[in-house]
């Protein structure tokens, strides 16, 4: 009986992950892309928390903090790049940043 909610947490995390992924795939605005990536990472973080809870360990939460840090760093760099891209291409449509192909 106690297992189910834990699995439920996992399912929730997976759902969030899928939403984030779907967002990356369908949204064209780079900002949204970054946000969706953020969602994916946090989904993974949630999964860690759930897993930590399952085992009654703090490791899951510790890991979540790692993830947060990384996600923050990524967004930081990402936003900087978005800034550059906007200056250069005057758009945030990530389909248009495809000068390299083939």
């Amino acid at each position: 009986m106690t297992v189910l909610p834990v699995n439920g947490g996992l399912v929730l995390a997976a759902g969030l992950f899928a939403i984030g992924l779907l967002g990356v795939l369908v949204r064209r605005n780079l900002l949204y892309t970054l946000m969706c990536v953020e969602i994916m990472m946090n989904a993974a973080g949630l999964a860690f928390v759930v897993a930590g809870a399952k085992w009654g360990q703090p490791d899951g939460q510790v890991f979540f903090i790692f993830i947060l840090t990384v996600a923050a760093a990524e967004v930081a760099v990402g936003l900087a790049l978005v800034n550059q891209i906007y200056r250069r291409f005057h758009t945030l449509d990530n389909d248009s940043t495809s000068s390299m192909r083939g």
Binding site: L21, V24, L25, V26, R28, T33, N94, D95, T97, S98, S99, M100, R101, G102
Partner: protein
């Protein structure tokens, strides 16, 4: 003296080398001296050797001279070695003797040609190769000569290479004979594999001891060798090249395509007669080939308009006689006819050459006529040659040699009435077409102007050959007409194992009747020719203009349609295949692979859109696939 044997072929070869390397630079006189002289020296050495051989015969009537071992593999050791016996000696004598005369003749005949040196170079090379052929002690060395003469024949037929037709004729000659040669080569493989040697003498002994009579293997081997022989000698079914070979200069036709090379097949069979005797099938095949060929060629000769083509067909026909003789086991008769044929056919060609030369390269008989007054020497020598060819009784060599064959065709144990009948009809045909030629070219009204008369260097060889054509027959006379057997006795030393079948079967009364028949036949032929072509030419024309007549005329003129047949069956399909596959289908296969690869490249390149969402989608797809693989494998 016999030790000089090896030098016989060497002189012409040296002549060839000198002409090849310095031909461009030396004056014509020197070239002529080298070209004809080398053969002359060779002829002189041959007569020395012949003298030694006859006066002081070596042990076993054969002389063997080893120069070096050619190849040595396992138990197989063919050598570069010469073997002289009566057979080889007669051949060598004719090759060098007649060859020398023709060379001398050529000095004037080819005197104005710009490729004088090349001509003599090839001729010398030919004499060398022919001598190697006849003197070889093993079949492999013989094959060097065999193909060597083929090469020279090719070079000389195509001597005037600027004319495409000549080139085609040359190619045809080479290729057709090569077909025969290849068959022969397969025969060699069989012999080597089965008997382990190609030394003629060893081979004959082993064939006798290991195969015995009526052996299938012997038949096979003999037939394969026959394949080579028919190719070289222009016999059925490979006779088609010879008439075209007349594209070469006339001395070439005389030397190569009448006197010597084309009789190589006869020589080969005579040389390996022991093998042939082991198989009556093979003997029969030889006789039938000979008989059919002599008839076919005789009919074709009858309707030719080109004087050289008449002579070419007659050559085919006369070699048919030799094959017939071989096929019935009349070895020395075959060689006898070979010798007389060499004299009179060379004579005929050279005389015809004299005419052609005098008329500025006119070869069509119907544009000649009345020449007997203008070119008396040529006419008389030509007439002697014709008489010999037609076998006019008693006076000439041709009669005696042909008579021996006719008699053998009937009386030998391999012979039969049918063979005789064929040969007899052939003889009548011979005399008809021969005298048709004589009458049309030399009699009647002159249709062409003689530009210049032949000089002495042309006439002397003619006269010598004419003399030989007359007297050479008297060294071998039938037993009821003097019974001289110089030639067959001499030959017998080479054929002693075989023996002469003709004599053993002879019934005294019969032979005379056959001789009379033969004589009557040839005389009748002369008469017929006289009637149709001199006395009453219109009747011949009207005969030829009936539908059947013209069809036959055409059919015979084109050599019984063999060329067309071969063209359809071999030449065109080959050309078609080669043309279709010019670009190599296999390569197409690889190109297709390359093409497919490049296509894949282009398709895959499209996946690299440069769009990050598309890439992310592929990451997703990939993860789903890996999940699937791991979870639901």
């Amino acid at each position: 003296m016999l030790n000089l044997l090896w030098t016989i072929p060497v002189f012409p070869f040296l002549g060839f080398l000198i002409l090849l390397f310095f031909g461009e630079r030396l004056p014509r006189k020197i070239l002529a001296l080298v070209g004809a002289g080398s053969v002359g020296v060779s002829a002189a050495v041959t007569s020395l050797v012949a003298y030694a051989f006859i006066t002081n015969p070596p042990e076993g009537h054969a002389f063997h001279q080893v120069l070096w071992t050619w190849i040595s593999v396992g138990d197989f050791h063919p050598q570069i070695a010469f073997y002289l016996d009566a057979l080889a000696l007669v051949m060598a004598g004719v090759v060098t003797g007649v060859g020398f005369l023709i060379h001398v003749y050529s000095i004037e005949y080819m005197g104005t040609d710009k490729d004088f040196a090349r001509f003599f170079a090839c001729m010398n090379l030919f004499v060398f190769a022919m001598l190697v052929l006849v003197l070889a002690d093993n079949l492999l060395l013989l094959y060097i000569g065999w193909e060597g003469v083929g090469l020279c024949s090719y070079l000389l037929i195509g001597f005037w290479y600027r004319e495409p037709a000549n080139c085609t004729a040359a190619q045809k000659a080479f290729i057709v004979t090569r077909v025969g040669d290849t068959v022969m080569a397969i025969g060699f493989f069989l012999l080597v594999v089965q008997l382990g040697t190609l030394d003629v003498q060893g081979l004959m002994e082993r064939a006798q001891s290991e195969w015995g009579p009526a052996s299938g293997m012997a038949t096979l081997a003999a037939l394969l060798l026959l394949g080579g022989a028919v190719g070289k000698s222009g016999q059925l079914p490979l006779q088609t090249w010879l008439p075209d070979a007349m594209a070469g200069p006339t001395p070439v036709s005389a030397l190569i395509h009448a006197a010597t090379m084309v009789t190589a097949g006869v020589y080969l069979i005579a040389r390996t007669h022991v093998l042939f005797e082991l198989s009556s099938t093979a003997m029969m095949a030889v006789a039938v080939v000979g008989c059919l060929t002599l008839l076919l060629a005789g009919f074709s000769a009858l309707v030719q308009t080109d004087i050289k083509r008449v002579l070419a067909y007659s050559t085919i026909s006369q070699i048919g006689y030799m094959f017939l003789a071989l096929g019935v086991g009349a070895w020395s008769a075959a060689m006898f006819h070979f010798m007389t044929h060499a004299f009179f056919k060379a004579l005929l060609f050279l005389a015809a050459g004299g005419v052609i030369h005098a008329l500025h390269d006119e070869q069509n008989m119907f544009k000649m006529g009345g020449l007997w007054k203008q070119l008396p020497v040529v006419f008389w020598t030509f007439l002697i040659g014709s008489a010999a060819l037609a076998g006019i009784p008693l006076i000439d060599a041709g009669f005696y040699s042909k008579d021996a064959i006719l008699w053998a065709a009937y009386s030998s144990e391999h012979g039969s009435f049918l063979l005789w009948l064929g040969a007899w009809i052939g003889a009548i045909m011979t005399s008809i077409y021969t005298f048709r030629m004589v009458f049309i070219s030399f009699f009647g009204e002159a249709k062409n102007h003689v530009h210049h008369k032949p000089g002495l260097t042309i006439l002397i060889p003619l006269i010598i050959l004419a003399a030989l054509s007359l007297v050479a027959g008297f060294i071998e006379l039938p037993h009821n007409m003097g019974h001289i057997q110089m030639f067959s006795h001499f030959m017998g030393t080479a054929f002693e194992s075989a023996g002469e079948h003709a004599q053993t079967m002879a019934e005294p009364g019969g032979e005379a009747m056959f001789q009379i028949l033969a004589g009557v036949g040839s005389l009748a032929g002369v008469l017929i020719a006289w009637w149709f072509f001199l006395k009453n030419p219109a009747s011949a024309d009207s005969l030829a203009s009936t539908p059947t007549g013209s069809r036959l005329h055409h059919f015979w003129k084109s050599g019984w349609g063999f060329d067309a047949f071969y063209d359809k069956v071999f030449v065109q399909p080959f050309r078609w295949i080669s043309e279709v596959n010019k670009a190599d289908i296999v390569d197409g296969f690889y190109s297709a692979i390359a093409g497919a690869t490049q296509l894949t490249h282009s398709v895959l390149s499209l996946t690299q859109t440069g769009r990050v969402r598309w890439y992310a989608a592929w990451v997703t797809v990939g993860s789903v696939m890996i999940l699937g693989a791991l979870l639901f494998k």
